[in-house]
Symmetry: C2
């Protein structure tokens, strides 16, 4: 025992003397804590002891000095181990052999080091032979030990030893290690020892205590190897955690045909099916299973080879799952027919398996619903919603862009929206390749399987719209150069013609040549049940951004509780509408504008009717026209010609008119409610269309809950004016149609000034919807469309921790959102508050939305399940605290 | 006296019984208060009484009912007046006649009504003849009374009476009214009375009491005539003020050759010279002076005509000026050699006169310096700084745009910057006419006398740059349509060819055909002294935004205390530099970019040296490159051809490169410190050039105080990175040149996020300069360049009280500025704080800057004096309160 006032550094486990347990993960590492826990459960764990992570940290911090008292504790624990095992470390008669393994708090597979069979030397070897009566085994263990120790501790390349082993097998005329004779293995040991003397410049250290000391040093030091540092950075593991060292008495899987070693999962990690799943090798040590030299057998074979061990193992599996209440990943060794457990940890699994395991464990009474919900990561859900590139497919990657919208797509290359529509109409699948997309391309984007753009970032038009459509998109793929002829593109020296097949991986950003095999998404009953539980815990509602009946339907099926943003502009881009729209824009007389709008009104009414029908019983927030009018005007020569003819203008006049409307910074231009004020007839028409649709359905008994949303308000007067007009337009329709419909009128909060003056705006608004896309653009002064030239670098260099268009910038934009909420609610306590920017589908941002007290988030249909889960996580995080997840 | 509890409505003045005084302007109106004050001073004021503005308000509010007790008070006052004058109102023997005049709190010249000679009728007329023994005078007074009363009270057009008077003079064969005989005048009175019966449908009201009542009603009602309402709106006079009614015993200037009437200023209102200045007419009533039928005589002639009256008048002038301590505008009447004063008020004056009067009054000991400073309005200063259109010039206005930059300009029309430069080089003066200007046009704008643009608002590129240059500009002149050929423009049906002369009035926004005469600016010693006094009171410093040595010199002469913003980008637009710049932009290798920049460096060094030299001893804030790189690339075909050749690229390649750099929203694009981070070699070059210039001058003993300013910081890390690099570049230069120069590094606060996170940014910044142009753009989400299509309407409809690009929006942008200041100073108490947006030259915004505690404002050179004065006003306003200014 350590003296009073000194820290305890060493924890014994096994042999009924276990000092640690599973909760001591921080001090003992995952492996050490679970070894202790298994020992406490009475499972057959070879006894040993764990040197704590704190000892490691102290060692590293002091430049290689053990903390006071540690080595004394190690000696004491070793003595205890010798007593428990009835063998002595370094004994010539019946030597105790040890394994020395690293074990950090978070699992860092393959990143750190292990030494087996420690304690062997020319003196102790005969003792091992005597004790096991197996000379071949003893030399096999010795050569393994020399190789591993020399590699891990002395830094000699393991290839040096491999080469000699292979040469020996050739000379002996055998294929497998197990076929080598005791003699051959002894000779190899000699060769290895000579090799060490040559490479290391000193003889192999034979003193077992020195071996142990140096192995401990090596494990401590392995925490700071480059690969470990890089791994930690990639997985956000703090450098300060350190690793524990597990020193354990050896058990041998290589003692003969009734010995062996294996790994197993308590359920299928790929499907989640409740059935043991694993592999083993007879007459082998752990490294052999991983090395892939011999093909391991399926765990089911163990029933035949060693039925009793199999029964015992199945009991262990059941015990461990019941105890840990999660699927376990287990390492075991069988020595002469006796089962030993070397490790247990939470098993990694696919998204589909994760969902199934969680749901079935609830049914089995193993875990609570909230635990099931918390166990599923939102990032896993994404994989369930999109087809993906088959990871086994052979494919040539020709370029890599931004993974703008996940999933995968295969199709023929087209370079224009029109071409996309035509090809798809004739039964082809296409990938739309553009320098960048614009609202003109919507129909083509709809038609295409996927979208590839050369410029634009994660939140460029292409990216946002594609995600909205649940469509695969690779954006900002700068190595793609579209020829000005628009008939081919090149990418890193590959020429791809229009009509050629390519494949996109929207999850990685890869562009692949040809038609790559896809894997269809998994969307199981388990998933549906899990999501329902999530909703029970969530406080935030989840709505969707949907502009079409189809999107609305998808979203409703995904569990959306309403539409938080129905953009009306996309409705204007269809052929016959855009013509009327252009007529309206180019007319100088109000009467002409109204006549043009009158053509669009019945079509808009039809759209709204379909959407209201799909969403019946749920609120539908309709945003009035937002984009600047010039977005609707043609640019292509032919279209200009057509339009000029239709408008009875000369082409020069038309061009002049188009030029006049062009804007230097359209994002900050004549759009949103500014249009509603300068062209009130547009909003009048839209509001009338909404209420005609609503009233007609209401008469049929459909429950409609329209919410009119005014965009881009910066000053309360803008809202006052547009609100008053909208109320009047609504009143007129309802009076004419003789039916009253409940409705709300609210506003986007998407400009800093709106957030700052929320207390002035709130009295005019039934609801606020934070438009965090534009709010981020204006707060940062960054155009999403242009950010591709510098924002990626900002992310790489850590200037910004996250892409602020993906994850809400809490320190800047978030401050405005908080102010908006506080001031808005202060002025109007019953104000309804939501968010409809892209952030509404981002889990980190959703946690923020929960924390600041929004009522709902609204996101694209395909992100609705993710948002529902994230909302549940946020609520559970608040009430339950952080879940200690096995990493 | 009114009974207790009732409000007093009527205030007597004159005859030693005066009840009011000059401080009672609100209740008695300006005229009434000053009549009372003059009476108290013992000056010869015909006695009378004033009915209060409150009575007027009560009358108007009740729909035409006198407040309780008012009429009783009028009767009592009238009785007192009769007693004082020894005459009775309506008496057949010696009737008291009255004048009834309006008199509001603020002077509203010509806006409201007056009736003279009230009390005359066929019964009282003989009494007047008897009392004056002047039949002609009596009938002259009668016909005046009938005309005025009928017009003012009965609403009959005064032309009707004029026509008859003219016809009569023709029939009588005389030219002047004074030449009409008593008989002729009597006949006119008859005609007038018939005219009234016909037009009014009832006989002329002969009862004097009814005349008085109806005249009072008419004056009350005149407060709400359309022209009065419009005038109040234009001059920001509250509708709630109301008008007082002054009822005064008549004195007659039309009694004969020793009678007369006149108006006088105690100093010359045009030049400010201390010399009485005025005009008078003998044998006339007040209206004759104004009507312009007879040519009035200069006041100097009075010395000859009526020397004693003249002496008396000069004493009155002296008394009044001494009393009011300001230049007075006086109305007087001489009745039979006796002087009467009818009005005194603060005299309106030109800007030049205002300055001279104020300065000389300080010298005379009449007023304090601070009073002098407060008396000059900042808007007046503007007139002193620019040549102006001669108001007497005859000219054809062909269009009206926004008064974007004051002053006037005359020149030949050119349509391109290149043409402007060429024409000016050949000795022509030109007006640059563009749809809008871009940085490419800078040289042409420099060369031109003035700039006219068809689009863009008060803060468009053209407007901002023109104001910066102190150059006349009319912007957003939408009726100007430039023919696509670029050889002529049309405006409201006028065709103007290139080479034709036009003139611009930047103060009104008018575009005039041909060469209009200009008046040169006044810039006197008085002005210089006044400005020096202003600086004594100001707490805010005033710096300038200057990019060239010439601008710096102008600003320094105008009293700038440093440069608050030296934009370096304009320096890049000169021919040989822009080529190197383009080379830099289009090079893909860093080495090539550095080589191109090396060409610019000595030129930039030269620029900085000249500027530092001019500003020696004063701080110079140099902003590193801000605009996006594509602004430097050519668009014209020929330029592209040249550049492609120079760069050894094909034209297609060049075009592709140019297209690649194009941005959807350049305002929110790859600019500011984002460039400094992606292309660090640019900032390195600029910082090196600054420090080479500074060090070389420092060696020569010139005091240089460079301040490096990093633009467009949104996140502290951006500043950290660019600051560290700038420090290193500075260190290297100073080490190489072996001299240390004190310097600061700070940042613009021009994005909402920067203001919000000012506490994080401040530790990295020696100073903040609020860039309120961009801060306004981002806070409102409004692009200055595009605002012209909707912002004017917002202003007209009162959606926004001010143009937020002219006057800082305190409720939104101002909140961010306040936060920025509070958080910045909290984190770094010695943080230096300034503003360098256009608002730095706007008086209202300067008052805000003073209130929130900035250290300085920075504005364009020509606004420096305005800013100095505004800064003094803000400080005096704080310590002294509001100055009651005669409006």
């Amino acid at each position: 025992m350590p003296s009073v006032g000194t820290k305890k550094h060493v924890y014994f486990f096994g042999a009924g003397q276990t000092e640690g347990n599973a909760t001591m993960r921080a001090a003992l590492g995952g492996k050490g804590a679970n070894l202790a826990e298994m020992a406490l459960l009475g499972l057959p764990v070879p006894p040993g002891f764990t040197i704590s992570t704190e000892a490691c940290n102290a060692y590293l911090a002091s430049g290689g000095r053990y903390p006071d008292g540690m080595m004394e504790e190690v000696q004491a624990a070793l003595a205890r181990l010798e007593a428990a095992m009835g063998r002595r470390f370094g004994s010539r008669d019946n030597p105790l052999l040890l394994s020395v393994r690293s074990g950090a708090r978070a699992s860092m597979p393959g990143m750190m080091d292990t030494v087996l069979n420690l304690g062997l030397n020319p003196d102790t070897l005969p003792g091992l032979i005597k004790a096991t009566r197996n000379e071949r085994f003893a030399y096999d263990s010795f050569r393994r030990f020399i190789g591993m120790f020399s590699h891990v501790v002395l830094g000699i390349k393991s290839e040096r030893f491999e080469e000699r082993l292979i040469a020996k097998k050739q000379r002996e005329g055998v294929a497998l290690d197990t076929q080598l004779s005791a003699r051959a293995l002894r000779e190899i040991c000699e060769e290895y020892r000579k090799l060490v003397r040559r490479e290391h410049g000193a003889p192999f250290p034979d003193d077992p205590r020195e071996q142990l000391r140096r192995a401990i040093d090596a494990v401590f030091a392995s925490w700071n190897t480059e690969r470990a540092v890089v791994y930690r950075r990639l997985h956000a593991i703090p450098d300060t955690w350190g690793t524990a060292v597990n020193v354990q008495s050896m058990v041998f899987g290589n003692l003969g045909p009734t010995s062996g070693t294996g790994v197993a999962f308590t359920r299928n990690p790929s499907t989640g099916e409740k059935r043991f799943f694993g592999e083993f090798l007879l007459n082998a040590q752990g490294e052999d299973v991983v090395a892939g030299i011999r093909t391991p057998l399926s765990l089911e074979e163990l029933r035949n080879s060693l039925p009793q061990v199999n029964t015992e193992l199945e009991e262990v599996f059941a015990t461990l799952e019941r105890h840990y209440r999660d699927m376990q990943d287990i390492e075991f060794t069988i020595q002469d027919g006796t089962l030993y457990l070397l490790q247990t940890r939470t098993g990694k699994r696919t998204a589909a398996a994760a969902v199934r395991v969680a749901v079935e464990m609830v049914e089995e009474g193993l875990i609570e619903k909230k635990t099931a919900v918390r166990r599923i990561e939102t990032s896993q859900i994404e994989h369930l919603l999109h087809p993906t590139i088959d990871p086994r497919a052979a494919a040539t990657v020709i370029a890599k862009g931004l993974p703008a919208s996940p999933g995968a797509a295969v199709g023929r290359v087209v370079f224009s929206a029109a071409e996309a529509v035509t090809c798809v109409a004739s039964g082809e699948k296409v990938i739309l390749v553009r320098s960048e997309t614009s609202p003109d391309d919507i129909s083509g984007m709809h038609a295409a399987e996927g979208i590839l753009t050369a410029t634009g970032g994660m939140t460029s038009h292409a990216a946002v719209v594609a995600r909205g459509m649940g469509k695969c998109c690779v954006a900002g793929c700068t190595s793609v150069e579209i020829d000005p002829s628009g008939t081919w593109f090149s990418a890193n020296g590959n020429k791809v013609n229009g009509g050629d097949y390519i494949s996109l991986n929207g999850t990685t950003g890869e562009v692949l040549l040809g038609r790559v095999e896809l894997v269809e998404p998994q969307f199981s009953d388990h998933f549906v049940r899990l999501m329902a539980w999530a909703d029970e815990f969530a406080r935030l509602g989840v709505r969707t951004n949907a502009d079409t009946p189809r999107d609305a339907e998808v979203a409703r099926n995904f569990g959306a509780q309403g539409i938080g943003l129905c953009r009306t502009e996309h409705m204007f881009f269809q052929k016959e509408r855009v013509n009327a729209m252009r007529e309206m824009i180019l007319s100088t007389e109000r009467r002409d504008r109204e006549r043009a709008l009158a053509k669009i009104r019945p079509m808009q009414k039809g759209d709204f009717k379909e959407i209201f029908q799909v969403m019946q019983g749920l609120p539908v927030t309709v945003r009035l026209l937002d984009p600047p009018l010039h977005e609707f005007l043609p640019h292509a020569d032919e279209e200009c010609r057509e339009l000029a003819a239709a408008m009875n203008m000369s082409q020069d006049e038309l061009r002049l008119a188009v030029d006049r409307l062009r804007e230097a910074n359209p994002m900050l231009g004549h759009r949103g409610c500014r249009l509603g004020i300068s062209h009130p007839e547009i909003y009048d028409m839209q509001v009338a269309a909404v209420f005609e649709a609503a009233c007609e359905l209401a008469k049929e008994g459909v429950a409609v809950l329209p919410e009119i949303m005014i965009p881009l308000v910066g000053h309360v007067r803008e809202l006052e004016i547009t609100r008053r007009r909208a109320e009047e337009a609504a009143r007129q329709v309802m009076e004419r149609l003789g039916v009253q419909v409940e409705y709300k009128i609210g506003t986007m909060i998407e400009l800093p000034r709106a957030a700052i003056t929320a207390d002035e705006i709130a009295p005019q608004a039934d609801f606020f919807s934070f438009g965090t896309n534009d709010l981020t653009q204006t707060t940062f002064g960054i155009s999403r469309d242009d950010a591709g030239t510098f924002l990626p670098r900002y992310r790489e260099e850590g200037i910004l921790p996250d892409d602020p268009f993906v994850t809400i910038d809490q320190g800047g934009v978030g401050v405005l959102v908080r102010w908006g909420i506080e001031r808005g609610r202060a002025a109007r306590p019953n104000l309804k508050l939501g968010i409809c920017g892209e952030h509404g589908g981002d889990p980190k941002s959703i946690a923020f939305c929960h924390a600041v007290g929004l009522d709902y988030v609204s996101c694209s249909p395909f992100r609705v399940p993710i948002a529902r889960l994230a909302a549940a996580h946020a609520a559970l995080h608040e009430t339950e605290g952080v879940l200690e997840v096995d990493r």
